[in-house]
Symmetry: C2
Subunit: 373 residues, 2 copies
């Protein structure tokens, strides 16, 4: 697995330290695993990271010691703290936080559970420390939303591989095959083009199942005339890409052909709405207006897209404007999906999804497969 060069990591640390300083925090306890991967290049199932003014402290247990040491070669400013074999992870984290902070220590309020917070606060209080825990939201996630050069190169490489896989897979979905069987072919092809694993459970939804946006892949056999939604993605070097095509088995009838064209037009409208400084919700609104104009407003029951990166769903949220959720201004280097769909219960549905990057000229497609197949 390739990881970003040391300079990229150091630049991420500098940007994060500027955020901490703006928030008057002397330290940040990072417990989100994708955030830890972003800052250190270590992908672990258990880890914590303390970012202080004088360095990074990466806390791991014995399973990840070797991998952490490899990362330390790239990032000599990062200290590794090993949880003792019979010791407690929570106790080690609390001890390191006490050593690193004597003022306001931030934690990630979206990632620490109530119990973990209570445990940590209890340990700090019992130690008599002056460290004060302060909830933060999205400090690292906001940095992650704008990809650096290495991340963009990785996502472009991944999107090209995903497009190649799609071109090879889609003609293989034939009448008589079970949805699950097609999903198996897709996942084998994802590995063949170099992905480490699928980015999520592959969706193959045929006939009436295509009208259920959260359907996965079941036992239905593809039948002549079926709409078939195929939604799949891959992880490459820790980064996720995502693509959907909807086909008809055999020649499309008029109604199916029209639906596919309407969804493709909504995607084109969303693409045209992208630009630096524009609102992410405006991109959603453009797709929604196009489908409403086609009488499919109610049939479009989800958001237009989601950010891609170390997680398959991350910032920016490209959905409906909502009073209780922050809108985001698009920035160059943001990468997200455009995936409008229309679902007619009991009959069928269609979704077309591609990945884009925001650029000074507006946007560029990362995936490259004909929209209508």
């Amino acid at each position: 697995m390739r990881v970003a060069p040391p300079d990229n990591h150091l630049a991420r640390h500098a940007r994060l330290r500027a955020e901490l300083s703006a928030a008057s925090l002397d330290t940040l306890l990072v417990t989100s695993l994708p955030n830890i991967a972003y800052l250190t290049g270590l992908f672990a199932s258990t880890a914590a990271l303390i970012v202080g003014s004088n360095g990074l402290h990466l806390i791991v247990d014995g399973r990840y010691l070797g991998s952490a040491q490899l990362r330390q070669r790239d990032l000599p400013g990062m200290q590794i703290v090993l949880v003792p074999p019979a010791g407690s992870f929570e106790e080690t984290v609390a001890g390191e936080l006490l050593a690193a902070s004597n003022g306001r220590a931030g934690f990630e309020a979206d990632h620490l559970t109530v119990r973990q917070h209570q445990d940590l606060a209890g340990r700090l209080a019992r130690s008599g420390a002056t460290t004060h825990l302060e909830g933060t939201q999205g400090l690292v996630e906001r940095l992650r939303a704008v990809k650096d050069d290495w991340e963009l190169a990785t996502l472009k490489d991944a999107a090209t591989r995903l497009s190649d896989a799609a071109k090879c897979i889609i003609p293989k979905a034939l009448a008589g095959m079970a949805e699950r069987e097609v999903a198996g072919i897709i996942e084998a092809q994802l590995r063949r083009v170099g992905f480490d694993k699928p980015a999520f459970d592959t969706i193959v939804a045929a006939g009436p199942n295509s009208a259920v946006p959260h359907y996965r892949a079941g036992g239905r056999r593809l039948s002549e005339g079926d709409l078939v939604v195929m939604d799949f993605g891959g992880m490459l070097d820790g980064y996720a890409v995502d693509l959907t095509r909807t086909i008809t088995v055999g020649r499309p009838r008029e109604r199916e052909r029209q639906l596919l064209e309407q969804v493709a037009a909504a995607q084109a409208a969303a693409f045209a709405a992208i630009g630096i400084g524009k609102a992410a919700t405006a991109v959603d609104a453009a797709a929604r207006r196009a489908l409403e104009g086609a009488g499919l407003g109610d049939a479009f029951s989800h958001g237009t897209g989601h950010g891609l990166g170390l997680e398959i769903h991350e910032r920016p949220r490209v959905g409906r404007w909502r009073a209780d959720l922050a809108d985001e201004a698009l920035q160059a280097g943001m990468v997200f999906t455009l995936e409008p769909g229309a679902y007619l219960a009991g009959w069928g549905g269609a979704r077309i999804e591609d990945d884009v990057v925001v650029t000074s000229g507006g946007a560029e497609w990362l995936t490259d497969v004909p929209r209508l197949l």
Copy 2:
């Protein structure tokens, strides 16, 4: 996908209500998705459940309305609450909780984040309600640790399929194949025997990689003499099973053969330590003693096993005794893995894993594949 019969769900509700009553709670807000699946049979990516004295309230958005209505046919005492299309999930949950509770409402402290808790507490306070939020731990998880008849039948069926897949796969791992390629064969076979999906990222670790317990599957080609750890599992009707075998490519040399026998002996010792009322940590201790006796104590760097069910890792924890973690007394109907291993850095490692159920007679194996291959 099959789900447990209505009577099983009603019995789960009754057991949970007894727990709530013992904890003097009038209501429990369930936000863990596996816990919601256990209580309702609905598998959703976004949902909340309120268990009150006068019924269940299942909160879903439009994507899961159809699936929730299907579940309601089985469970007429369960009301469905739909999040309005442009509304907020959090607001809907808070409103329902206010309506259901006028006293002590429990929430799951291991699953609610600090931010979610703060948001919910803020909404309750602003409404002027008398509802008081009370953190709980493991109320539903403790019920889930003891499987009911339907769950045992499902896990036995799944374990039989996994054993069949293993017998067919393992002879296919041949010199010259890349680890990733073997992982692809395994995952295709999991689908072929009827699993909905792999239960986790398949591990195929060859040669020195076999000494890294958290390794996945990479580019190394299997070479004559390599130890190869293959760890894989499947999800069937929402339930996870898990199996590991370690083989040698070609005929095993003396050192590899001995290591495999020592690990198999540790697994047998763990199995013999299982019994109703015995401590879960005593099972771990038995495996650990066996490996220590063989001079491999330091080489066994993880716990002996973990519970299986709606999650691939759940209660009971079959690991080292630790002062800061509760020990669990084994009960009939608990299902877990036994997976001792020994890892010698730079050289290689071995792990052997099977699934067992605690019975009145001690324990029974659920998976059935020769341990030494």
